[in-house]
Symmetry: C2
Subunit: 653 residues, 2 copies
C-alpha cells in the first residue's frame, strides 16, 4: 500500500494488480449465465450422487409434495386441519357463489370451483397455508374481458365455454411459466403495483355491487367509475329500497364482526362464519317474508350434483380463441401473482420455503384440471388463506376437508340456496373488498419511495378510471421505465478520503470526506450500457469542467480516477465511451486511472484492446492505491526528473 | 480501524459511522432529479450572472450557432469550404436523384432536398462537418411504409403529399425531442443495433436495385429477401442484358475508384467525383447510342426551376394522417440517430463538442422548413459527411456552397439529366450501400460482447427477412431485455480479504482473496428493485446454505456482511427483501451486517424503520470495519462474557 509520504514502491503494487481473468470457452460462459438466469435455486442439486430409482422418487416428490408429508401425517395434525377446513368451507361457499356472479357465470360454478382444484393443489402445492378458491379480481377480469366479445345473457352457453377455455389457457400458461423457469416474469409486478392494482380492483368491484345493492335490472358492462356512476344515477327511479336496506344491514353486520375479530384475534371464527351466517339469515328472512316478490332478487334454482365434465366445452375455433387466449394469459398472471405472494407471506411466518416455479406448476395444473371439470380460474385468495392460517391449519389437508364439505353441499344442500338474496352476496363481496384497500401500505410507499407511490397510484387510477388492463399496463410501464431510467441516468459522484482511513466515499454523503489536490475521483453507480454511454461521457466532461474552473492556483487537475467498483457490467458502447473519455482528457493533459474494475469489465477491456491504450499499470485494486500512485507521480515527477519503470514520469504529460 | 487482534474500539468506530442523510423537502429532491434527468449538460449555466440583453444574445447564439462563428469567418476558411462544398455537390446531385427513386418520389425532389435544408442547417447546426442531404435508409423506409397505404404509381399526387406530411411530422418530432430534452431516447438505439440495422438496410436497398440493374418494369413493393428473390426470378424472361451490362460496368468503376481512394487517402476526390462522372458518361453514352429505345430506362424530363412551396400539400385528414404520423416518427428517429452519430464522430476527430439536444432542434427545423418547400426527409448522411471532412471543410459554410451549386443545377442544368440511365443510379446506390455493411464492426462485437452481437444480428436478420420496422423492434427489444435481465438477475459474489490490505474483493476474480472464518461477505452488484428482490432473497439463502454445508467444524457461520457499495438504489420491495433476509437468518442465529450503503439506501432504510431492526451500530463504512467488528465479537464474546455497550454480546445470538 502506498505510504502517506508518496513513495510508490513498484514491487508492492505489482502483487496487487487487477488480473485479467482467464478467457473461458464461450459455451461455458453461456451455460453458466443460463443456469444463473433460469435455475438460480439449483433444483438439481438434490439429484446429484443419487441412484436411478432414488432419483425417480425424488422427482416425484418434487412434483407431488404430498409424498413428502403424507407418510408422517397423524391424528393431531388432522384435528387442526379439520377445524381449519370446516371454517374455510363456511367462507368458501358464499364467496364462491358471489364471485361467480361477478364473472357473469352461473352461481353453481363457484361451488364446483371450490371442489376439484383444492384436491389437486393438496397433492401438488408446497404451501401449507394456501386455501384454494376463486378470487374477486380475476373473476371481475374474466367477466369484463369476455363480455366485451360475447354477451353472457344472450349467448350463455358460448360464454360459459369461453370461460372454461380461458381457464384452460391460464392454467397452461401458468404451468408453462413454471416448467420453463420463467417465474421471474411475475416479479415484474412489484409490490407497489399490486397494492394499487388490488385497491383499484376492489373499488371497481364495490361499484359493480351497486347493481345488486340497489336491485337494478340493467347495468353497464364497463367497469370504470364514470360509466358506473352514470349508469347508477341515470335510473334513480329503478332503485329498490327494500333491497338497499337489507344489503346495508348485512354489510354493517359483516364489517362489525370483522372489526370485532380484528380486536380480539382469538375470535377470528366470528368473522369467518359471518358470511355463511348472513346467507342463512338472509335466506330464512326472504323465505318467511316472500321478499322475492317485493324487488329482492334471489339466487333461484341450483342444480344438485357434482361437477359435470367440460372437456367437450373447450372452444378452440378461430373467432373466439383470441379472446380466450388473451383473457387466459392476463388473468393467469394476475392469479399467479396473488397466489404466490400469499403463499410466500405465510411461509415466511412459519419459516418454510416456497419454490415459486413449483407453485406455478401446481397452480397451473389445478386450473387445467379445473377447466376440464366445469371450474373457472382459481388461485390462493388472501382472505381465505388468512382465515385458514388463523384457524390453525397444519398442512394442505385443510383444502381436502374444505373440498369434501363443498362436495356434501353440492350433493345435498343446494336447494337451500334457492331463497338466498343476491343483495347478501353483494354485501359479502363489498365487505371482502374493503379489506383489500390497503391505504396504510400506500402511505408507507409515499413515505419511503415516491416512485413506488406513483406506480401504486398509477395502477389505482388506471383501474378505476380506465379498465383493469389499462391499470396494469400503466403500473408495469412505470415500473419498467424506472428501471430503464436508473440505467439511463446513473449517478456519478465525487469521492473524497475519509480522514484517518484508506476509504474513499461520496463527498455529498460524508461531509468529512476530503478531496485530493490534483486528483478527481469519480464513482459510477450503474453498469455502463448503450443507454447511458453518451450521458456518462458528457457528465464526466462536466465534472472535469467544474473541477478545473475552481482551481486557479498551482495544482491543476492532473488525474481522473474512475472507481468502477459499482459497474457490474459494460457493453461495447460503454467500451467506446471509455475510449472517448480517454481521448478527451488526454488532450487536456489529464491521465485516466481506473480503480477496482470487476472481472467482466476487465475481460472486456482486455478483449477490446482498450486495456493497452489505458495501460494495465494504471488500473488499481483500490481507490487508495490509485491515489497513492497519483500522489507519488505528482510529488516526485518535477521537471527534469527521469525514471524508467513502468509508471514513469513520461506517462504523466 | 479495527486491529488485527480483534480489538473493537467503540469510540473510534463511532466517528466513522454511516450517517443518515438529512431529509430534504420532496420538491427539492424532485427538482434535482428532474434536472439531472433532462438537463445533465446544464445548458443554463452560461446564462447565470448575465444582464437581460446579453441573455437574449446568448439565447440567439444557442439556437443559431452561425452567430458564433460568422463574425470571425475569413477568406482562407472560405477557400477550404468552397472546395469541400463543390466536392459534396458533385456527390449530392446523383445521390439525391437516386435516393428519391428509392422512396418512389419524383427524381427532382432529391435535388430540391439538397437545396433548402442545407441552408437551414448552416444557420442552426453545431457540427462543422455534417453535410446535409437525403439518406438511403430513410428513403427506403418512407417508400416502403407509405406505399403500403397509397400506391405511388396510381395516386402520385396523394403519395407526394403524404411524403411531405411525413417529413413535417418527422421534423416536428425531432425538434420536440430536442426542446423537451428527451434526446436520450436516441441512445436506446445502441451502436450494435445501428450496425446491424444499417447492414440490413443496405442489403435490402441493394436487392431493390436489382429492378434497375435488370431493367425490370414490375417489382414487388415488399422489401424482404424472400419476396424480392421470388419477384426477380419469376420474371427471368424480362431481364434486359443491355441494362445489366451497363450497370455492372459502372458498379465496377465506382468500386474501383473507392478502392483506390481508400489506398491513397490523398486522392479522396477521385471516389467523390466518380458518381457525377458516371452520370455524365452514362448520359452521353445513352444520348449517342439511343439506348433508351433498347431497354435502358432513363430519368426523362426534369422540371427547371427552384423548389415550389408545398404548404398547401400537407395532408392532415383522418384516413392518411395515421400513416404519415407513423412514418414520420419512425423515419425521424432513424434519421436523427444517423445524423447525431455522424456529427459526434467527426466532432471527436476535431475535438469540439456537439450538443445532442441542440442538433435535434436544428435537424427538426430543417425538416419542417423542408416539408414546406417540396423537400423530403434529410439528415447528415455518413458518406457525404465523410467526403466533406476529407475535402477539408472548416465550417457549415460548405453546406451553403453545396446548396448554391444545386441551385445552379436546378435553374440551368436539369435538361442535361434527361438521358441519364436509371441503371447508373442503381450502380451508385449499390456502391454506396456496400460501404455501409460494416462486417469488421460485427466481428468486433462478437469478439468483445456476445449479447451486443446478438442485438446486431437480430437487427440484420429482422430487416432482411422481415421488414425495416421488424428489425428495429427486434434490436431495441433485445437491448432493453438485456438491461432488464441485468437488473432481474444481479450478480452476488463472495468477497475475501486481499492479503496485506484492508481491501475485500471477489474471490472468483482474485484467487488470493481469503475468506474470514465464521463470516460470509456478499457483494450485490445492482440496485435492489422489485424485479430482483425475490431472486436476491433466494440467492442469498443459497449462499448461506452452501457456506454452512461446508463448515462441519467448530466455527459455524455467525455473520452475514452485505456489501452495498454497488447498490445504487433500492425500492420498497428491496427494503422488504432486506427485512425478510434479516428474519430468515435471525432464525439461524446469524447476524446481518451492512457495509457501505449509499446515501439513498441509508435514507430509505431510515424512513422504513428497518434501520432500527438491523441496528445502526451494525452498519459500517467499509467491509474491513465490519469484519473487524465481527472478529471482535467472535473472539471476545465467549459464553459468560457480559458487555453493556451498543454492540454487546447479546446481539450476537
Amino acid at each position: 500500500m502506498g505510504n502517506a509520504d508518496g513513495v510508490f514502491p513498484e514491487a508492492e503494487f505489482a502483487a496487487r494488480r487487477v488480473p485479467v481473468p482467464p478467457s473461458r470457452p464461450f459455451l461455458d460462459t453461456f451455460r453458466a449465465n443460463l443456469k444463473e438466469t433460469f435455475f438460480p435455486d439449483d433444483p438439481f442439486r438434490q439429484f446429484k450422487n443419487e441412484s436411478g430409482p432414488r432419483r425417480v422418487v425424488l422427482g416425484l416428490k418434487y412434483f407431488l409434495p404430498i409424498l413428502d408429508w403424507a407418510p408422517t401425517y397423524n391424528l393431531s395434525l388432522f384435528k387442526a386441519d379439520l377445524i381449519a377446513g370446516i371454517t374455510i368451507a363456511s367462507l368458501a361457499i358464499p364467496q364462491g357463489i358471489s364471485y361467480a356472479k361477478l364473472a357473469y357465470l352461473p352461481p353453481i360454478l363457484g361451488l364446483y370451483s371450490s371442489f376439484v382444484p383444492p384436491l389437486v393443489y393438496a397433492m401438488m402445492g408446497s404451501s401449507r397455508d394456501l386455501a384454494v378458491g376463486t378470487v374477486a379480481v380475476a373473476s371481475l377480469l374474466i367477466g369484463s374481458m369476455l363480455s366485451n366479445e360475447v354477451s353472457p345473457t344472450e349467448q350463455p352457453a358460448l360464454y360459459l365455454h369461453l370461460a372454461f377455455t380461458a381457464t384452460f389457457f391460464a392454467g397452461l400458461f401458468q404451468a408453462a411459466l413454471g416448467l420453463l423457469r420463467l417465474g421471474f416474469i411475475v416479479d415484474f409486478l412489484s409490490h407497489a403495483c399490486i397494492v394499487g392494482f388490488m385497491a383499484g380492483a376492489a373499488t371497481v368491484v364495490c361499484l359493480q355491487q351497486l347493481k345488486g345493492m340497489l336491485g337494478l335490472e340493467h347495468f353497464t358492462t364497463a367497469t370504470d367509475i364514470v360509466s358506473v356512476t352514470k349508469s347508477v344515477f341515470s335510473q334513480v327511479s329503478q332503485w329498490r329500497w327494500e333491497s338497499a336496506v337489507l344489503g346495508f344491514c348485512f354489510l354493517f353486520f359483516l364489517l362489525l364482526t370483522r372489526f370485532f375479530s380484528k380486536k380480539r384475534p382469538r375470535f377470528f371464527w366470528i368473522s369467518a362464519a359471518a358470511p355463511l351466517t348472513s346467507v342463512i339469515l338472509g335466506s330464512v328472512l326472504v323465505y318467511l317474508t316472500h321478499a322475492e316478490n317485493h324487488g329482492v332478487q334471489v339466487i333461484g334454482y341450483l342444480k344438485k350434483g357434482l361437477n359435470p365434465p367440460s372437456v367437450t366445452s373447450l372452444t378452440f375455433t378461430p373467432p373466439y380463441i383470441t379472446v380466450a387466449l388473451k383473457t387466459g394469459i392476463i388473468t393467469g398472471v394476475i392469479a399467479l401473482a396473488e397466489g404466490i405472494a400469499v403463499g410466500r407471506s405465510f411461509a415466511m411466518f412459519k419459516n418454510y420455503n416456497i419454490d415459486g416455479n413449483k407453485e406455478m406448476i401446481a397452480i397451473g395444473t389445478m386450473n387445467i384440471v379445473g377447466s376440464l371439470t366445469s371450474c373457472y380460474l382459481t388461485t390462493g385468495p388472501f382472505s381465505r388463506s388468512a382465515v385458514n392460517y388463523n384457524a390453525g391449519c397444519k398442512t394442505a389437508m385443510s383444502n381436502v376437508v374444505m373440498s369434501i364439505a363443498v362436495m356434501i353441499t353440492l350433493l345435498l344442500l343446494t336447494p337451500l340456496f334457492h331463497y338466498t338474496p343476491l343483495v347478501v352476496l353483494s354485501a359479502i363481496i363489498i365487505a371482502a373488498m374493503l379489506g383489500l384497500i390497503d391505504y396504510e401500505a400506500a402511505f408507507h410507499l409515499w413515505h419511503v419511495d415516491k416512485v413506488d407511490f406513483c406506480v401504486c397510484l398509477g395502477a389505482y387510477l388506471g383501474v378505476v378510471f380506465g379498465s383493469v388492463e389499462i391499470g396494469l399496463v400503466i403500473a408495469v410501464g412505470i415500473s419498467v421505465l424506472r428501471v430503464l431510467l436508473f440505467i439511463a441516468r446513473p449517478r456519478t459522484t465525487v469521492l473524497g478520503n475519509i480522514p484517518n482511513s484508506m476509504a474513499y466515499r461520496r463527498v455529498d454523503q460524508y461531509p468529512s470526506a476530503e478531496s485530493i489536490p490534483g486528483v478527481l475521483i469519480l464513482q459510477i453507480d450503474a453498469p455502463i450500457y448503450f443507454a447511458n454511454a453518451s450521458y456518462l461521457r458528457e457528465r464526466i466532461s462536466r465534472w472535469i469542467d467544474e473541477e478545473t474552473e475552481g482551481f486557479k492556483g498551482e495544482t491543476t487537475l492532473q488525474y481522473l480516477i474512475l472507481d468502477l467498483g459499482a459497474v457490474g457490467s459494460i457493453d461495447t458502447s460503454g467500451i467506446s465511451m471509455l475510449e472517448e473519455v480517454k481521448k478527451i482528457i488526454d488532450r487536456r493533459d489529464i491521465k485516466l486511472v481506473l480503480a477496482n474494475p470487476g472481472s467482466e469489465v476487465m475481460k472486456k477491456l482486455n478483449s477490446s484492446k482498450i486495456l493497452e491504450t489505458i495501460g494495465h499499470e494504471w488500473i488499481f485494486l483500490t481507490v487508495a492505491d490509485a491515489v497513492a500512485a497519483c500522489n507519488f507521480m505528482l510529488h516526485s515527477c518535477k521537471p527534469g526528473a527521469i525514471q524508467n519503470d513502468n509508471t514513469s514520469c513520461e506517462n504523466v504529460v
